[in-house]
């Protein structure tokens, strides 16, 4: 271990290990702030290079490799962990905190991993932690969703593991590094599938809108930040400039927006928008120029901040009003004014409104794609931008906070804890700061030579954004009657997942049941008979031999006890007499 390195996962893992043993007076909550602060320190002061190299089973593992790309992801992960923990400080359930700590530790571990084995270990740790963040919502719906989530990610993880092992067998190396599309082997595609599961690439995405709306209020805030963005990081690291990712990303961007426009569940709308926004990043990686990789990274940073804030806002409404269904909400703007303000900061950020951080990150990817002559990618991303503003920038807040209703003074609202406002406030400030001063984000981008290629604050960029968003807003104003959400389930690819699951279940359980039936018959006929014979033998042995010995010794003990009781009559003279006889006996023995 070098002197100038601290692994940001360390304090998260240590706290997760000791938290169950700390006394229940809730002072332990202050300890939760230490790991994020240490991680923020590490993100800024860790030196570039390989750290924590260890030899294990003849392999040289690199637990941490620091460079520009991993540093910026560590930085935003650290900031988000602080905001997320602030937001969840009121939660008394230690299990939820432990799950979040393990999950975040997994995220840091993946981003810093220098080899595929380390990456896989932390990848699975994330999967485990996030499963519990869903399960610990403790409703039937959440527990079922968490099992589906875990099974799905286990399958994704197995693709990844198979790819890693086959790749090792072929190349003899676990090192994480860029793979060229031209020289890719089938095992590289397995790794890509494993990554794409976590990046929620359509059609492998449906786990996300299934699980995230069912997580705990605070757990989903963590989940929306780490799983998909860790996948974006490894895609940028291993598969830059794979054209298929440019296509997949564009499809994701549009697909997520379409589903978000139909949805009624606030956090499911936001979940579909993760698919959409991660699409921008995947497309940027797929185009693969320095400018679009920068754009993807910048957008991942901005996205973590505003998406965390969106989930915090929607979570605060759910916490306070007890529902996240838009058709049951409305008329809350005056009741939860600061929740609404924080939500709107995030909503304008995700939409790419000038002054907010989406404006300085989203357009970098779009213009980068256009500059690389990927016109259809750029067009798809612009279409998605329109849908983003309509569904998450206008529809969600309109129906949650207004909905054309008068202020709902009668509704029972649970007061939103101050710590939740602190988490939202922190992210709101950062969203605006980055939007106004893009330099504080751009200076950390991996390709510094390409940063100058995009200057967000130009009159045309501002006007273009205002025109696009303003007239999308007009489209919303004109069609808001059609957009009014209703209770419904919109079929998605998870229909196929469930079908595949059921088929596999029958494929395994039917033959297993058949074999089991035959085995039962064989057993009844042959196994049971011999077992009965053995049993009779042991009964005979038990009764005649064991019992005989035990009974005999019991009778002996009983007789000795009876004699002892006779002798111990409590009369001192009798004891003296017996002692004399005994002494005489001993004396006679030695004398004789």
């Amino acid at each position: 271990m070098t002197s100038n390195f601290y692994h940001p996962s360390l304090a998260f893992l240590m706290l997760a290990a000791v938290l169950p043993f700390l006394p229940g007076n809730r002072r332990w909550k202050f300890l939760l702030l230490i790991p994020p602060l240490a991680a923020i320190y590490a993100a800024f002061f860790n030196q570039a290079g390989a750290h924590l190299t260890l030899n294990w089973l003849g392999q040289s593992l690199e637990l941490a490799k620091v460079d520009a790309l991993s540093s910026i992801f560590c930085q935003v992960f650290a900031v988000m962990s602080l905001a997320g923990i602030l937001y969840s400080l009121h939660v008394n359930d230690k299990g939820q905190h432990i799950a979040a700590l393990l999950y975040v530790a997994g995220g840091f571990g993946c981003v810093l991993a220098g080899d595929f084995l380390t990456l896989f270990a932390f990848w699975e740790l994330m999967s485990l932690g996030s499963t519990f963040l869903v399960m610990l919502n403790r409703t039937r719906e959440s527990v079922l969703a968490s099992f589906r989530y875990f099974m799905y990610h286990t399958v994704g993880g197995l693709f990844l593991l198979a790819g890693i092992l086959l790749r090792y067998k072929h190349t003899g190396s676990f090192a994480v590094g860029p793979i060229l599309h031209a020289s890719a082997n089938p095992y590289d595609w397995l790794i890509l599938i494993g990554f794409c599961v976590n990046a929620a690439v359509v059609p492998l995405h449906a786990w996300l809108p299934d699980a995230y709306p069912r997580g705990t209020v605070t757990g989903s805030v963590f989940m929306c930040a780490y799983t998909t963005k860790t996948a974006v990081y490894v895609l940028a690291r291993v598969f830059p400039a794979w054209e298929i990712l440019a296509i997949a990303g564009t499809v994701m961007a549009v697909y997520g927006v379409l589903y978000a426009s139909m949805e009624n569940n606030a956090r499911r709308i936001l979940s579909y928008h993760i698919v959409s926004q991660v699409g921008y990043m995947v497309a940027g990686i797929g185009v693969g120029t320095a400018m679009t990789i920068n754009g993807a990274t910048a957008h991942a940073y901005a996205h973590i901040l505003y998406k965390g804030l969106l989930f915090m806002g929607a979570g605060a409404v759910l916490y306070s009003a007890g529902t996240q269904r838009l058709d049951e909400l409305g008329g809350l703007a005056a009741r939860l004014p600061w929740v609404m303000v924080c939500y709107m900061v995030a909503a304008l950020s995700i939409s790419g409104m000038p002054l907010f951080n989406g404006f300085i990150s989203k357009n970098m990817t779009i213009q980068g794609a256009a500059a690389a002559h990927q016109t259809f990618v750029a067009l798809g991303l612009e279409i998605a931008a329109v849908g983003t503003f309509i569904s998450v920038g206008l529809k969600l807040p309109y129906f949650a906070f207004w909905g054309g209703k008068a202020t709902d003074w009668k509704r029972d609202l649970k007061p939103v804890p101050v710590n939740m406002y602190c988490g939202m406030g922190l992210l709101s400030v950062l969203c605006v700061l980055q939007g106004v001063f893009p330099g504080i984000l751009y200076r950390f981008l991996p390709h510094q030579e390409a940063v100058g290629a995009f200057v967000p604050w130009q009159s045309w960029n501002v006007l273009q954004a205002l025109m696009l968003l303003g007239f999308s807003g007009l489209a919303f104003y004109l069609t808001r009657g059609i957009l009014t959400p209703h209770k419904a389930l919109n079929l998605d690819f998870d229909w196929f997942y469930r079908l595949i699951g059921k088929i596999l279940y029958h494929l395994i359980s039917r033959p297993a049941a058949f074999v089991d039936n035959i085995w039962t018959n064989v057993w009844n006929w042959a196994g049971l008979g011999s077992l009965m014979g053995t049993a009779r033998g042991t009964v005979f042995f038990d009764r005649r031999i064991i019992d005989g010995i035990v009974d005999g010794s019991a009778y002996g003990v009983k007789g000795a006890g009876f004699l002892g009781a006779l002798l111990q009559n409590g009369k001192l003279q009798s004891y003296l007499g017996l002692m004399t006889i005994l002494a005489l006996g001993v004396f006679a023995y030695f004398w004789y």
Partner: protein, 104 residues
């Protein structure tokens, strides 16, 4: 009017005095204020569209976006078409009852 209202820090506030921002937002729901905001919105749209005559794209991405009013038309048409497509055509086909899978 509310019997009692809770401000953002969860403290109970007596009747008739919701926190400053909440009271302001409540007042905006009057018909007159709504009309004001709507007029303001339309004026901003007009101003933004007219500015497009002065400020033009130097690097059009798609060719047609070099002409003024491309982006206003793009936002309005794409937005409108998307809403109608999704809510009127796609959703009726894939819509199921909320507890279709029996998870709830």
């Amino acid at each position: 009017m509310p019997e009692q209202n809770e401000n953002q820090s969860g403290l109970k506030v007596p009747e008739g005095s919701p926190s400053g921002l909440g009271a302001f937002l409540d007042r905006q729901l009057d018909a007159g204020r709504i009309k004001f905001w709507r007029t303001l919105f339309f004026l901003i749209l007009l101003a933004v569209a007219l500015l497009n005559l002065l400020i033009k794209s130097h690097h059009p991405h798609f060719g047609v976006d070099r002409y003024p009013f491309f982006w206003p038309v793009f936002g309005l048409v794409i937005g409108g078409v998307m809403v109608v497509l999704v809510k009127k055509i796609i959703q009726p086909v894939i819509k199921k009852p909320e507890d279709f899978y029996g998870d709830l």
